[in-house]
Amino acid sequence: MSFEEKEMAENIKRISGVNPRKCMKCGKCSGTCPAYEEMDYHPHEFVAMVEKGRIDELLASKSIWTCLSCFACVERCPRSVEPAKLIEAVRLEVIRAQGANHLKAVQIPELLDEKLPQQAIVSAFRKYSK
């Protein structure tokens, strides 16, 4: 792990309050995730990649926008690792960088359809409101 990678990983851990070392690699987070098919990196991979310092790839991932923030992985993780908080932290890193937002809030209404879960809409407002 380079110095930059290490620093970025430390930052994500600090923002999220998550210690990826607690993970026992059981995969329950990815087993329970309702948005699994929409993700390029899955919840368990987030945990492993933050530990390895592969933050650049996560910052560019589709997953940070497709995570529903439903917190099923947080609720069910047997080791209290809380993967959704890591995903949220990576997302915040992107949002906080000027102009790096994925979508503008005004673009959201036209993307809504009937099948979209309520949870996704609620969390979208948090994701894109800045």
Partner: protein
């Protein structure tokens, strides 16, 4: 003035790497009373002990201080050493400069300084030590075994075979425990009942063993060699001496819809029942909560039918009091309650079962007579999903932090048996790790995969959703890096195991320690694994930690060996460090009597000489029963007149230690 010798141990590099042992010996030599001080590489070795003995003789030492490891480790060793050289064993003090100094400090200067202070403290104490002599107490040649599962039975049989009386107290109506509910045993697949029931019968027929079934230990007093236990024999409303176990009553009882505990509620039993065909003792019991006669006063059918006249609705709980030399704890375990794991739909669908329930569903004496059928509709399941580690290895409030140890093997067993009996059934096992240390264990698991075609998936199930008579299982396959969905007919949960609920109250009763998970603590995790730190209390089976049947039996026999070693002695040497009252100072206030947790203090009127014309007067003073006192020191703290002291730990000795530290 004492002539004190100080011996500083290096413990190899354990102490010497952090503490300047020569400097400690040097500093000790300057203390008042010290006539000799030295250091040596391993003081506990034979050469080290000889050095101590020789120094005692050469320098006419009257007190010895060893600066070494914790007294818990080697105090007994060094007491024997000084005793061999003709000193009283209680003229020895150990200064712990390893656990309390070298192991926890990094800075050599600071650690050395602290070691000097610890040495000085021990010297101050030993200067005030007086020779003590341990009293002796007799040993009652009878053992009490709490819990009649395979662990308790094995311990009882071994102790009884050595010629000692044993009482087994079992809270259920029959002995046998969890093993009676298990169908087959890994890795040999022999039937559990076939190997267990002969042992149950052996225990019942053994002339030295008495079984108190449907009974509980309610109170234990006393100490090693002389425990006194109160046993409650719960009213079973059937006279054990008359009942022949014919079962006529159970076939006629009109109250039929009561949860059958033996089959884990998968079917019903009558209000009067015999738990199962091979129950020991094979005596019926009436469950008062569902008996119509007990509830309404009308019925009495069983009493009319019983040819032996054994039914007695008026039977009351009885109590027995008996003395024991040793107590074996074999209280066992239970699977955890899965109500908190609703993502697996355990409370939503009857087709989601625990592994122990599956044992009953596959057992010939079970609710389905050994044919595997879905509890919901009685059809054959064609796809079965096993989920491992349900509640084990969890650091959250829902589960247990430990590995339950037995689940990997019994799941491989279940999967294998199902594939063998019903080859058209698909079996999937979700696992985090497969843990199979043990003789022929990994081979067994590999056989399930390679020969029986069980599908092992590395990953965990996220949720189970009952839908249209099926169970939709969604989990992850970490090797394929994909989310899998399986439409299953049955889901089997490998629930974590936890110590029986009685463990905590029994531990309190015995003043035996338990850990944060309620498992009984061993006296030493490696070197004394079957003894509790409380003298005379021994541990057998899962009450000490998760283990399988072979391990339980091995531990039960080891435990029996320790009990036999104790019962074989005629007298036990007591601990001389017990409370002692200075009658001249005692004001008779009774405070010590009230705080004593062992009931060792009583008060009596005594005649004392007084100046003046009366010459004598009668005063009420405390008196300590040294055989019962455990030397806890509660009385010395409570005593307002300063009359109470613990021998070997007298108040003036403690103050001398404090002064030495603060100097």
């Amino acid at each position: 003035m004492q002539r004190i010798g100080v011996f500083v141990c290096w413990c190899g590099t354990n102490i010497a790497a952090t503490v300047d042992v020569k400097a400690v010996a040097e500093a000790a030599r300057k203390e008042p009373g010290v006539v000799f001080a030295t250091d040596y590489q391993y003081m506990c070795s034979e050469a080290g002990q000889k050095l101590i003995r020789d120094a005692i003789a050469e320098h006419k030492l009257t007190g010895v201080v060893i600066c070494s490891c914790s007294p818990r480790m080697h105090e007994a060793t060094f007491r024997k050493t000084v005793e061999a050289a003709g000193l009283n064993p209680y003229m020895l003090e150990v200064a712990n400069i390893r656990e309390q100094c070298s192991w926890i400090h990094k800075d050599r200067t600071e650690a050395t300084e602290k070691a000097v202070v610890l040495a000085r403290t021990a010297i101050a104490k030993v200067s005030l030590n007086v020779p003590l002599t341990a009293g002796e107490s007799p040993v009652t040649k009878r053992a009490l075994v709490i819990g009649g599962g395979i662990a308790g039975i094995q311990s009882a049989l071994d102790i009884a075979d050595a010629g000692y009386e044993v009482d087994i107290v079992e809270k259920q109506p029959t002995i046998g425990g969890k093993m009676t509910q298990i169908d087959k045993t890994f890795p040999t697949l022999d039937c559990a009942a076939c190997i267990l029931t002969p042992k149950m019968v052996d225990a019942a027929q053994h002339e030295k063993i008495t079984i108190y079934s449907y009974s509980e230990v309610t109170e234990v007093t006393g100490f090693v060699g002389a425990f006194k236990a109160r046993i409650k024999r719960k009213a079973r409303f059937v006279d054990e001496t008359k009942c022949t176990g014919c079962g006529e009553c159970t076939s006629k009882c009109p109250s039929k819809k009561n949860k059958n505990e033996f089959n884990l509620g998968l079917d019903n039993r009558t209000a009067i029942y015999i738990p199962f065909a091979q129950a020991v003792p094979k005596v019926a019991v009436i469950d008062a909560e569902s008996c119509i006669k007990k509830k309404t006063g009308k019925c009495g059918l069983c009493q009319k039918i019983c040819g032996a006249g054994a039914i007695d609705y008026e039977q009351k709980d009885e109590y027995i009091e008996r003395e024991y030399g040793a107590i074996v704890v074999a209280t066992g375990y239970n699977p955890i309650d899965l109500a908190k794991y609703d993502e697996y739909a355990y409370s939503q669908s009857p087709d989601v079962v625990t592994s122990l329930e599956l044992e009953r569903l596959m057992n010939a004496a079970g609710p389905t007579k050994g044919t595997l059928l879905r509890p919901s509709d009685g059809t054959h399941p064609h796809t079965i999903v096993f989920i491992q580690c349900v509640g084990s290895r969890c650091d959250d409030a829902r589960g247990k932090p430990y590995c339950s140890k037995i689940c990997c093997m019994y799941t491989a067993k279940h999967a294998m048996l199902i594939r063998e009996k019903y080859p058209d059934t698909e079996v999937h096992v979700f696992y985090i790790d497969v843990r199979t240390p043990g003789k022929n264990f990994d081979e067994f698991y590999r056989r399930a995969v390679e020969q029986y075609g069980v599908d092992y998936i590395k990953g965990m199930v996220g949720k189970v959703v009952p839908h249209d008579g099926k169970l939709l299982v969604q989990g992850s396959d970490l090797i394929a890096n994909e989310q899998v969905r399986i439409e299953a007919d049955m889901v089997v949960l490998a629930a974590a195991i936890e110590p029986d609920k009685s463990a905590r109250s029994i531990a309190t009763m015995l003043t035996a320690s338990i850990d944060t998970n309620d498992f009984f603590t061993e006296a030493h995790p490696k070197l004394r694994p079957v003894e509790s730190p409380t003298a005379g209390v021994f541990l057998s089976g899962v009450c000490q930690g998760p283990k399988d049947i072979p391990e339980t039996v091995a531990q039960a026999s080891a435990c029996a060996a320790k009990v036999i070693g104790l019962l074989a002695k005629d007298k036990l040497k007591g601990n001389p460090c017990v409370a002692h009252v200075n009658e001249e100072m005692c004001n008779g206030c009774s405070t010590c009597e009230k705080v004593c947790p062992y009931g060792a203090i009583t008060y009596q009127d005594k005649e004392f000489r007084v100046p003046g014309p009366k010459r004598t007067e009668i005063r009420r003073v405390a008196s300590v029963n040294e055989a019962v006192c455990q030397g806890c020191g509660a009385c010395t703290v409570a005593c307002m007149s300063g009359a109470m002291d613990i021998k070997g730990f007298a108040n003036k000795q403690i103050f001398a230690e404090v002064d030495a530290i603060c100097r």
